[in-house]
């Protein structure tokens, strides 16, 4: 099956902290796109970069996506798992791009040691708005907890990204892929988290 769509390449960037489930989200998103018959490329970094450090993954969907990398100013969507990790990749955003931000802060050790400062909330928001006005935020960790587990935060973010309409996949296929991606006892909570994210973004974008 080849991707016969002649639409633009959708460039999606997922940025967060090692351990938050960034890689899993990228893989599930790509698997969904593949099920939809789309050509897809995922770029990930493993190893040293996973240990609680900054992690960034890219998903590119479109017939003409060849390489895995998303360049400056070309991302239609940035899925930010953490405020400063979103800012760290904000230069990748296309001028018309969209940002989903999980507002829950994960404190870097340098800040706890008093060696660096975490930028204040308003500075973070203003900085994002410098790059785009299309920007929504919510506490995805809290939503994940409500769904049943803080570890399902990545599926809240997946639901939200599908809800933007910028990931060229249907919500029902996405939900099926989420369901089949987890072992049975984690299935329900992840599907619930996905739905929560979808619902949240739809109400925020209304």
């Amino acid at each position: 099956m080849t991707d016969t769509s002649n639409t633009r390449t959708e460039n999606i960037v997922i940025s967060g902290v090692g351990g938050q489930g960034v890689l899993t989200l990228a893989e599930i998103m790509a698997r969904t796109a593949l099920q939809e018959g789309r050509n897809v490329r995922v770029g990930e970094i493993h190893g040293m970069a996973q240990r609680g450090g900054h992690v960034v993954c890219t998903v590119r969907i479109g017939a003409e996506a060849y390489g895995p990398i998303v360049d400056h100013g070309t991302a239609q969507l940035i899925i930010g798992f953490e405020p400063i990790e979103t800012l760290r990749e904000i230069h990748l955003l296309h001028p018309d791009g969209f940002v989903i931000l999980n507002s829950h802060v994960q404190h870097p050790v340098a800040v706890s040691m008093g060696k660096a400062e975490y930028p204040p909330d308003d500075v973070i928001r203003e900085s994002i708005r410098m790059f785009t006005t299309r920007f929504v935020e919510f506490d995805a960790l809290e939503l994940a907890r409500q769904a049943g587990s803080s570890r399902s935060m990545n599926m809240v973010m997946f639901g939200a990204s599908v809800g933007t309409g910028l990931v060229p996949v249907s919500a029902s296929i996405a939900e099926n892929v989420v369901a089949e991606s987890f072992p049975e006892r984690f299935r329900e909570v992840n599907v619930r988290a996905f739905r929560t994210g979808l619902k949240t973004i739809r109400s925020l974008m209304r």
Binding site: M1, V17, G18, G19, A26, E27, A30, L34, N39, V40, R41, V42, G43, E44, I45, H46, G47, M48, A49, R51, G52, G53, H54, E64, Y66, G67, P68, I69, D71, H72, G73, T74, I84, E85, L87, R88, I90, H91, Q106, H107, P108, V109, A110, V111, S112, M113, G114, K115, A116, E117, Y118, P119, V123, I124, S127, M130, F131, L141, S150, R185
Partner: protein, 631 residues
């Protein structure tokens, strides 16, 4: 990670989302490879991890995590000489470890296909250098194949086995991080049967390269490589796309091919692209024809000017007057990885075109961003290494020299632990400690992981014992090869075939090698005991002027966390009692567990319960007893 049933699926033609490393593992099945031996190394690690999962389900298949890469290549090389398809896998620096058998194998050749997969790491995402392994192929006279994406990772692997058998030579299969760690749809092909047992047919005057034999093998090798070049000329792995009659010709290989395709599109540029899949030996005549067809030749490749220099040599040799542009003119970078932007930038410069996207406004905005606190990779919450390094710091107060090694624990370079002072390669903690101890009067406390200890620590330790080097060596035994994704090693008691065997005991090994002071400690049992043991070890080394080894044994925090999730247990969390906490900052500033953070209003520490891994070491670190556990 791809599902096991997808990797083993027999539905021909089905497309599955695979990481290129998983596609290579699948390729092992489709190529009928009988034996794979490797030592894990990122960016190649998931090849081994996938095969480890697949191994018990494949008939007539043997897989092992070898002690190190040299061992792995010797095991695989011998199997291919015996007559079955075999594979060795490593990262760039791993091929350096295996360099010795690498060169011999090209001389003696193989009877069945042997592919050596090497994963280079442009950009050094997880390596100590970005050395360009393509020169091994050139230096060793070994054919080389380079895939550009996950689909080619499998299809070119199959071609590499055919090439290897046609030439009776091992083939180097060179990938880079952005190939290894990209994921795409890959079409499944038929699975090939593997023989059970073969007979080793003796031919010592081929396979034992004593000088008299080696002298006959070198001309043979060169003859094979000339045949390889002829194959390369007509191989479908080397192909051109685009119109022949145009000014610009681009020569490229590997991951850069993708960037070239996207850059051409972005610039709406008319160019013919020569994509080279067999990058040693290069299809010289086809390249010369290509050079003659165009006025400007642009060579696009990451790292060293490997293709570029050979292309220039062909042009000179065949007297082709053509402009060749590449990194020797400074038009392309020689460091780090490329992206489409890199290629666009260079093409616009070379061809004098305007840039398709104006990046200046983005760059202007970037300058106005606030300073972001760094977030480097760190030892995980609950990592036993943190406790051990904390104890080493307490005893030595930062004044000893701390030779480090390759593994998660190199992350102790970061404040506040700062216990990594010198590092070359796998095993160098022990040997650099020897060198430093001999010429300084300083205490030397070296640290090495359990897997690294077996991989390359042993010869150094023999050296330390025999030559009486006064070093303190701490083996950080977390019961796994953690950094590369938790592979078993000789100390774990599990093989690549999932067989339960007797683990090799590090303490016994050290005693057997003649280390007189050896002790095993459990860092989570008592921090005070750990500190006392480190102190005693150092005093013993000072007094006896000989090596001492402390084995600090505690399973990796990620393994215990996974185990906890599997069992569904949720132990009572730790917390900081704000009534007792004096805001002294000892836990945050000296221990610095990422699960603890500063409440900027009170100046006191807080434990993030979603990150805590329940090691409980912070309880002992707090001088005021403010860290407690909920009932």
């Amino acid at each position: 990670m791809a599902k096991l049933e997808d990797l083993l699926d027999t539905t021909i033609g089905r497309r599955v989302l695979l990481l290129a490393n998983e596609a290579i593992a699948r390729g092992v099945l489709e190529a009928g490879v009988r034996l794979v031996a490797l030592y894990p190394g990122t960016p190649s690690s998931e090849i081994g991890n996938s095969l480890f999962k697949m191994a018990p389900h494949i008939p007539n298949f043997y897989f092992e995590f070898s002690t190190n890469e040299k061992v792995a290549l010797e095991v695989a090389g011998a199997a291919a000489i015996a007559g079955v398809r075999a594979m060795m896998v490593c990262k760039g620096p791993g091929l350096n470890v295996a360099a010795d058998p690498f060169f011999s194998l090209a001389y003696v050749g193989v009877r069945a296909g042997l592919v050596i997969v090497v994963a280079d790491d442009p950009g050094m995402w997880s390596s100590q250098n970005e050395n360009d392994s393509r020169y091994y192929a050139l230096m060793g006279n070994m054919p080389m194949v380079e895939p550009a994406d996950p689909a080619e990772a499998k299809s070119l692997l199959l071609a590499a086995y055919d090439l290897s058998e046609e030439l009776e030579l091992p083939v180097l299969f060179r990938t880079t991080t952005r190939v290894n760690h990209s994921r795409a749809g890959v079409e499944l092909g038929p699975i090939r049967d593997r023989p059970d047992k073969v007979e080793f047919v003796k031919e010592p005057f081929r396979f034992v390269p004593v000088p008299a034999v080696a002298r006959t093998r070198h001309p043979w090798l060169l003859k094979q490589m000339e045949q390889a070049r002829e194959i390369s000329e007509s191989s479908s792995l080397n192909f051109c796309i685009g119109r022949e009659e145009c000014e610009v010709g681009i020569i490229t290989s590997g991951v850069s091919y993708n960037y070239v395709l996207e850059a051409i599109q972005e610039l709406d540029l008319e160019a013919e692209v020569f994509k080279i899949g067999i990058t040693n030996p290069l299809p010289r005549d086809s390249i010369v024809d290509f050079l003659r067809r165009h006025k400007r030749i642009i060579v696009v490749e990451e790292l060293e000017p490997y293709l570029e220099r050979q292309v220039r040599a062909f042009a000179q040799h065949q007297d082709v007057a053509v402009n060749i542009y590449g990194k020797e003119d400074g038009l392309f970078p020689r460091v780090y990885e490329y992206s489409t932007q890199t290629v666009v930038d260079a093409l616009t410069k070379i061809l004098g075109r305007p840039a398709p996207i104006d990046l200046t406004s983005i760059q202007e905005k970037e300058k106005r961003l606030p300073d972001l606190p760094p977030r480097p990779p760190l030892l995980c919450p609950g990592c036993p290494h943190r406790a051990t390094y904390y104890a080493i710091r307490v005893v030595t107060r930062g004044k000893a020299v701390y030779p480090s090694d390759i593994g998660c624990y190199t992350l102790s370079i970061a404040p506040p632990l700062e216990t990594a002072d010198i590092l070359f390669d796998m095993g160098s903690s022990v040997t650099t400690a020897c060198g430093i101890a001999q010429v300084t009067g300083q205490d030397v406390v070296a640290t090495i992981g359990d897997s690294t200890f077996f991989a390359s620590g042993l010869p150094g330790l023999v050296n330390a014992v025999y030559n009486q080097h006064p070093i303190a060596l701490v083996v950080l035994d977390n019961r796994t090869t953690a950094m590369t994704g938790h592979q078993p090693h000789p100390g774990t008691g599990v093989t690549g075939m999932h067989q339960k065997v007797n683990p090799i005991d590090i303490e016994k090994v050290c005693r057997g090698l003649g280390v007189e002071w050896v002790r095993t400690v459990r860092p989570f049992e008592s921090l005070a005991k750990l500190v006392a043991d480190v102190r005693e070890m150092l005093e013993w080394v000072r007094e006896n002027k000989a090596p001492a080894v402390l084995v600090s044994r505690e399973p990796c925090a990620l393994l215990t966390a996974a185990e906890r999730r599997r069992s569904g247990e949720s132990p009572p969390p730790y917390y900081v009692d704000p009534e007792v906490c004096t805001a002294c900052g000892r836990c945050l500033n000296r221990f610095a567990c990422p699960a603890m953070y500063l409440d900027t209003e009170t100046g006191k520490a807080v434990i993030d319960e979603t990150l805590c891994n329940f090691c409980g070491v912070c309880v002992s670190v707090c001088p005021h007893g403010a860290i407690k556990r909920r009932e």
